[in-house]
C-alpha cells in the first residue's frame, strides 16, 4: 500500500489570499492531515462555499467543488449520501456558515452525517471588502457598521453543542500543530465534526489580530482535567472563557446519519447498478392496478 505525502495534495495553484492570511495555514493543515491519515487524493472531496476562504477547494489536490454562497454543507452532505466511501470535508468562512448558511449549519449538526466542516472565522467579510459578520464583536467598526456593530456576535461553539454536533472544536490558524491534529481527529470522528478556526484577516480586521488571539486564547489542553465528553464542563468552560478556547471542546460517540438510515446500501450509491429488477417493477406497477 502506498503512503500519501503532503505533496500528493498540492496542485501548484497560487492562492489569491492576502499575504499573512490565516487561510494559508488552514490549507496546509488539511493537506498535512490528509497525508497523515494516509488518504488518497481521489478519495477526498473538499466542498467549499463562497468568499476568500471558499477558494480553498481549488488549492488542494483532491476532488473538489466550489459551489454557491452558504451552501457548502448541503452540497457536501449530498456528496456523502451519493458516495459514503469518500472523505468529505466542507470548508468556508464565517459569513458562509454563520450568516447566509446558518440554517444549513444547524441542520447539518442535527443530522450528524459523517463529514468534517472547517470554518475559517475571521470575524469580517473580506472578499467584499470589509463588512460586518455575525461573528464581529459588539461595537466593531466596519464599512457596513460605521457606528460600530450593534448586533450580538454569534457563539459557534455553544450553538454547535446545543444543535447536536458530535464533534465540536476550535483552533487558531497560527497553531498549525493543534490545527492539523484537530482536523485529523475531526475526519476520523464518525459523525459531524465542526472545527471553527480563528483565521485572522490581516487586511480588514485590525482588532482580532494574531497578537490579539495569542493574548486572549486559552488552550483546553492546558486546563487540568478538561474532559471533552462532559457536556456540562464544555458549556461552563466556554462561558468562563467567553468561547476563546482552542482544542476539542466536545465530542460524543453516537451513530452517524449514514448508520441510522434504514435500508441505506453499504455500497456507495454512485457505484450501484441503476437498473430496477423486472420483478420489483412489476410489483410496483401492480400496486396501481
Amino acid at each position: 500500500m502506498s503512503t500519501s505525502t503532503i505533496k500528493d495534495f498540492r496542485n501548484g495553484v497560487k492562492p489569491n489570499w492576502c499575504p499573512g492570511c490565516g487561510d494559508f495555514s488552514v490549507q496546509a493543515a488539511i493537506q498535512r492531515g490528509a497525508a497523515n491519515l494516509n488518504l488518497s487524493p481521489e478519495d477526498l472531496a473538499v466542498i467549499s462555499g463562497i468568499g476568500c476562504s471558499g477558494r480553498i477547494s481549488g488549492y488542494i489536490r483532491s476532488y473538489g467543488l466550489h459551489g454557491i454562497h452558504g451552501r457548502a454543507l448541503p452540497i457536501a452532505q449530498g456528496v456523502k449520501m451519493g458516495n459514503r466511501d469518500l472523505t468529505v470535508v466542507a470548508a468556508g468562512g464565517d459569513g458562509d456558515g454563520f450568516a447566509i448558511g446558518i440554517g444549513h449549519t444547524i441542520h447539518a449538526m442535527r443530522r450528524n452525517m459523517d463529514i468534517t466542516y472547517i470554518v475559517m472565522d475571521n470575524q469580517i467579510y473580506g472578499l467584499t471588502k470589509g463588512q460586518t459578520s455575525p461573528r464581529s464583536e459588539d461595537g466593531f467598526i466596519t464599512s457596513s457598521t460605521p457606528e460600530g456593530s450593534i448586533e450580538k456576535a454569534l457563539s459557534p461553539m455553544e450553538m454547535a453543542i446545543t444543535s447536536g454536533a458530535s464533534f465540536v472544536a476550535q483552533c487558531f490558524s497560527a497553531d498549525i500543530k493543534e490545527l492539523t491534529a484537530t482536523i485529523e481527529a475531526g475526519i476520523q470522528h464518525k459523525g459531524f465534526s465542526i472545527i471553527n478556526v480563528y483565521s485572522p484577516c490581516v487586511t480588514y480586521n485590525k482588532v482580532n489580530t494574531y497578537d490579539w488571539f495569542k493574548e486572549n486564547l486559552t488552550k483546553l489542553s492546558d486546563i487540568d482535567g478538561y474532559d471533552a465528553s462532559n457536556h456540562e464542563m464544555a458549556m461552563n468552560t466556554l462561558m468562563k472563557h467567553n468561547s476563546l478556547v482552542t482544542g476539542i471542546v466536545y465530542q460524543e460517540e453516537k451513530p452517524s446519519y449514514q448508520e441510522l438510515v434504514k435500508g441505506y446500501a453499504e455500497q456507495p450509491l454512485a457505484h450501484m447498478n441503476l437498473d430496477l429488477q423486472p420483478e420489483l417493477f412489476r410489483e410496483l406497477v401492480n400496486e396501481f392496478i
Binding site: N11, G12, V13, P41, E42, D43, A45, I47, R55, S57, G58, R61, S62, Y63, G64, L65, H66, G67, I68, R71, P74, I75, A76, Q77, G78, V79, K80, M81, G82, N83, D85, L86, G103, H104, I106, H107, R111, V261, K262, G263, Y264, A265, Q267, P268, L269, A270, H271, M272, L274, D275, L276, P278, L280, F281, R282, L284, V285, N286, F288, I289
Partner: protein, 605 residues
C-alpha cells in the same frame, strides 16, 4: 393474484339508455372520508375496465372546509374534468349548494338524511335522501356511511354490489374478516334503500359495460413521476414538502429503502436542490421536486448545475401563484420562470408531459438527458396532472433505457500525475467527459466561477468565450433528438383552427377538438411536450398552415402563446384562451372559445 370481474349489466331499459361516459362527485367536509369513498369507487371501476379521471377539489387546511372528488367514468379514454355532472353524493348541505349547478336535468343528488338535505329551488336534478349515517350506525358504526353511499350509487348506475368486494377485502382484511363483511353489508343496504326510492326513474344513468377489461393502471401524475424516478435509477431524493409535489417524496420514502436508497427531508428547498447537486456530482442519480415557491428558491443552485455541468433533475408541479397564491389549485404560470428564471445563461431543458404515462416516460428521459447533456432538466407538471388520478396503459418496462452519456466511473491512466483531468474539455458537441470522485486519474476542480478545461478559475476573455460557447452548443441538437417534442393531432391539410396546449390541458382540448370537428370545422391540435429548447422547426409548418391558432393555457398572460410568437412568429393569428381562476379547463371552455373565434372571423368575412 388479482381477480378481474366482468361487470354484468342487467339491461332493464334497453341499450338506448346506457351511459358510456358518466360523472360522479362525492363531497363533504375535509377529513370526513370523502377521499376514501372516491378511492373505493374508482379503484373498483378501473378494474372493471373503465377509463377514469378523478379530480379533487380541496383547501389548504387539514380538517373542515368543503372538499369533493369528481370522478369521470368512461368506456373510452378520458383526460379531462367533465363539463357536467350526473351523480352528486352529498354528506352536507354545502356540497349540494356548491355543486348542484353542475348537474344536468336527469342528474341525481343522493344525500344523507342526517343533515335534512334541501334541494335548491332552481335545481334541475332530483334529490334522493338516503339515511347513510343511520343505516351505517345500525350496522355497527357511522364510519361506514361512505359504504352506504357507494351502495346507493350502485343502484343508480346499475353496478353489482359484489364488484366492490375485492377492493373492500384489500382495504379491510387487515382489520379482520368481520370488517369486510360489515362494509359489504353497508354497501348492500345502501343499494337496496336506493333501489326502492328510485322506482323506475334512474334508468338514464345506467352505465354501459366496459368493452375492454385488460389491466390498466390508475394513478396520479406524481406517482407516475416517482415511479419513473425509481425506474430511472434514482437512489437518493432530498426534498422539502410542498403542495402539490409532496406525493413524490412520500412515495419514494416508502420505496427507496427497497433498493438501498433514501429520502432526506431537508431544512429548505435550497438544501434540497444543492444536496441533489452534490449527490449527482458524486455519481448517484438524485433529484428533487417542488412547486413554484420552492423553484424560486432553487434558481441560484440551478445556475450552479448549469455552470458546473452537473446533471440535475428538478420537478416543478405548478400551482396557483404568485407567492402562496392558490396552493391547492390548478395553474400553469411558471413556464417563463422555468425557462428564464435563473440569472446568467445556461443550457437548460424544460419538459412538460401532459398525461400520467407521459410523466412516467418523460421522467426517465429527463434523467437521461441530464446525464447526456450534463445540465439541469426541469420536469414541468401542473397541479391537475400531478394530482388528477387517471387510467393509463400499464407502463412498459421494455421501453426503459438508462443512458448516462460521457460518464467515466473507472480509473484513468495518467500521463502526468500532477495534471488535472480536463473535465471541461472543449469538444465538438460541447459535452465533455465527466468523471466522478473516487476515480484515480480523474482529479479536477469544479467551480461556479468561470473556469478553464481543468476547472481552474479563469476570467480571461478568450477562455470565457470558449467555455460559454461550449456550454451553449450542447443542446443544439436536442429538439431533433428528443422523442416526440410535440404531440400532433392534425388529420386534415386545411386547418381552420389549430389548438395548442401543454401539460394537463390536453384532455379538455382533445374533447373540444372532437366536438368542433363534429360541427364540420377543420380543427387540429398540438400538445407541446418539449418546452425548452423550443421545437420551433417542428411546430412552424402547422402554424403556417392554420388560419387561426388558439393557445389554451392556465395563466393570465399567455406565456406559451408568447413563447410561440417569439420562436415562430405569426403574431397576428395566434390568440389565447386563458384561465387563471384556479379550476382546470373543461372541454366546453375551449369549445366555446374556438366557436367564438371562428364565428367572429366569419362575421368579419
Amino acid at each position: 393474484m388479482l381477480t378481474y370481474m366482468i361487470l354484468t349489466v342487467t339491461v332493464l331499459k334497453g341499450a338506448d339508455f346506457m351511459k358510456t361516459d358518466l360523472s360522479w362527485k362525492v363531497g363533504g367536509q375535509q377529513g370526513e372520508g370523502i377521499e376514501s369513498t372516491g378511492e373505493i369507487f374508482s379503484k373498483t371501476l378501473n378494474r372493471l375496465g373503465f377509463y377514469l379521471y378523478g379530480y379533487r377539489h380541496f383547501s389548504s387546511r387539514i380538517k373542515g372546509g368543503h372538499t369533493n372528488n369528481k370522478i369521470r367514468v368512461s368506456t373510452e379514454k378520458v383526460q379531462a374534468v367533465a363539463d357536467n355532472l350526473d351523480i352528486l353524493l352529498a354528506f352536507d348541505q354545502e356540497t349540494i349548494d356548491l355543486n348542484y349547478h353542475e348537474l344536468h336535468e336527469k342528474g341525481v343528488i343522493i344525500a344523507d338524511t342526517k343533515f335534512k338535505p334541501v334541494k335548491p329551488e332552481d335545481s334541475k336534478a332530483e334529490l334522493y335522501p338516503v339515511p347513510f349515517t343511520d343505516i351505517a350506525s345500525d350496522l355497527g358504526t357511522s364510519l361506514m356511511k361512505n359504504m352506504v353511499a357507494i351502495g346507493a350509487t350502485c343502484a343508480v348506475m346499475n353496478l353489482e354490489v359484489e364488484d366492490f368486494s375485492v377492493v373492500i377485502e384489500e382495504i379491510f382484511n387487515r382489520k379482520g374478516g368481520d370488517m369486510v363483511q360489515k362494509n359489504m353489508k353497508a354497501i348492500q343496504e345502501g343499494y337496496m334503500y336506493m333501489q326502492k326510492s328510485l322506482g323506475e326513474k334512474a334508468s338514464t344513468l345506467y352505465l354501459a359495460k366496459a368493452e375492454n377489461t385488460h389491466k390498466r393502471m390508475f394513478l396520479i401524475g406524481n406517482d407516475a413521476i416517482a415511479l419513473g424516478a425509481l425506474t430511472a435509477g434514482v437512489r437518493f431524493m432530498p426534498a422539502y414538502p410542498i403542495t402539490p409535489a409532496s406525493d413524490i417524496m412520500e412515495y419514494l420514502i416508502k420505496k427507496l429503502p427497497r433498493v438501498g436508497g433514501t429520502v432526506i427531508q431537508t431544512e429548505d428547498e435550497i438544501a434540497a436542490v444543492t444536496m441533489a447537486i452534490g449527490s449527482n456530482y458524486a455519481g448517484a442519480r438524485s433529484f428533487t421536486a417542488s412547486s413554484g415557491p420552492g423553484l424560486s428558491l432553487m434558481m441560484e443552485a440551478i445556475g450552479l448545475s448549469g455552470m458546473t455541468e452537473t446533471p440535475l433533475v428538478v420537478v416543478d408541479t405548478q400551482r396557483g401563484g404568485p407567492s402562496t397564491g392558490l396552493p391547492t389549485k390548478q395553474e400553469q404560470s411558471d413556464l417563463m420562470a422555468m425557462i428564464y428564471g435563473n440569472h446568467g445563461e445556461i443550457p437548460k431543458v424544460v419538459i412538460a408531459p401532459s398525461t400520467a404515462d407521459e410523466a412516467f416516460y418523460d421522467t426517465i428521459e429527463a434523467f437521461n438527458i441530464a446525464d447526456e447533456y450534463q445540465c439541469p432538466v426541469i420536469l414541468l407538471t401542473d397541479l391537475q396532472l400531478s394530482l388528477a388520478k387517471q387510467t393509463v396503459e400499464t407502463f412498459d418496462f421494455d421501453k426503459v433505457h438508462i443512458r448516462r452519456g460521457k460518464l467515466i466511473t473507472s480509473d484513468i491512466e495518467q500521463t502526468d500525475e500532477k495534471d488535472y483531468f480536463k473535465r471541461y474539455e472543449v469538444t465538438e458537441d460541447g459535452v465533455s467527459p465527466r468523471v466522478i470522485p473516487g476515480v484515480k486519474g480523474g482529479i479536477h476542480h469544479v467551480t461556479g466561477v468561470e473556469h478553464d478545461e481543468a476547472g481552474r478559475p479563469n476570467e480571461t476573455a478568450s477562455n470565457r468565450k470558449q467555455q460559454m460557447d461550449k456550454r451553449m452548443r450542447k443542446l443544439s441538437n436536442l429538439t431533433k433528438r428528443f422523442p416526440n417534442p410535440i404531440t400532433v393531432n392534425v388529420p386534415t391539410t386545411k386547418t381552420d383552427l389549430l389548438l395548442i396546449g401543454f401539460n394537463a390541458t390536453r384532455g379538455a382540448i382533445e374533447e373540444a377538438v372532437h366536438r368542433l370537428r363534429e360541427d364540420g370545422l377543420n380543427v387540429n391540435h398540438l400538445q407541446i411536450r418539449l418546452i425548452h429548447p423550443f421545437p420551433a422547426a417542428a411546430i412552424k409548418p402547422y402554424i403556417d398552415g392554420a388560419d387561426y391558432v388558439l393557445v389554451a393555457e392556465s395563466n393570465a398572460t399567455g406565456q406559451l402563446a408568447n413563447i410561440i410568437k417569439m420562436n415562430v412568429g405569426h403574431v397576428n393569428k395566434i390568440q389565447s384562451i386563458l384561465k387563471y381562476d384556479g379550476d382546470p379547463f373543461q372541454p366546453h371552455h375551449i369549445y366555446d372559445a374556438g366557436k367564438e373565434l371562428l364565428e367572429h372571423v366569419y362575421i368579419n368575412n
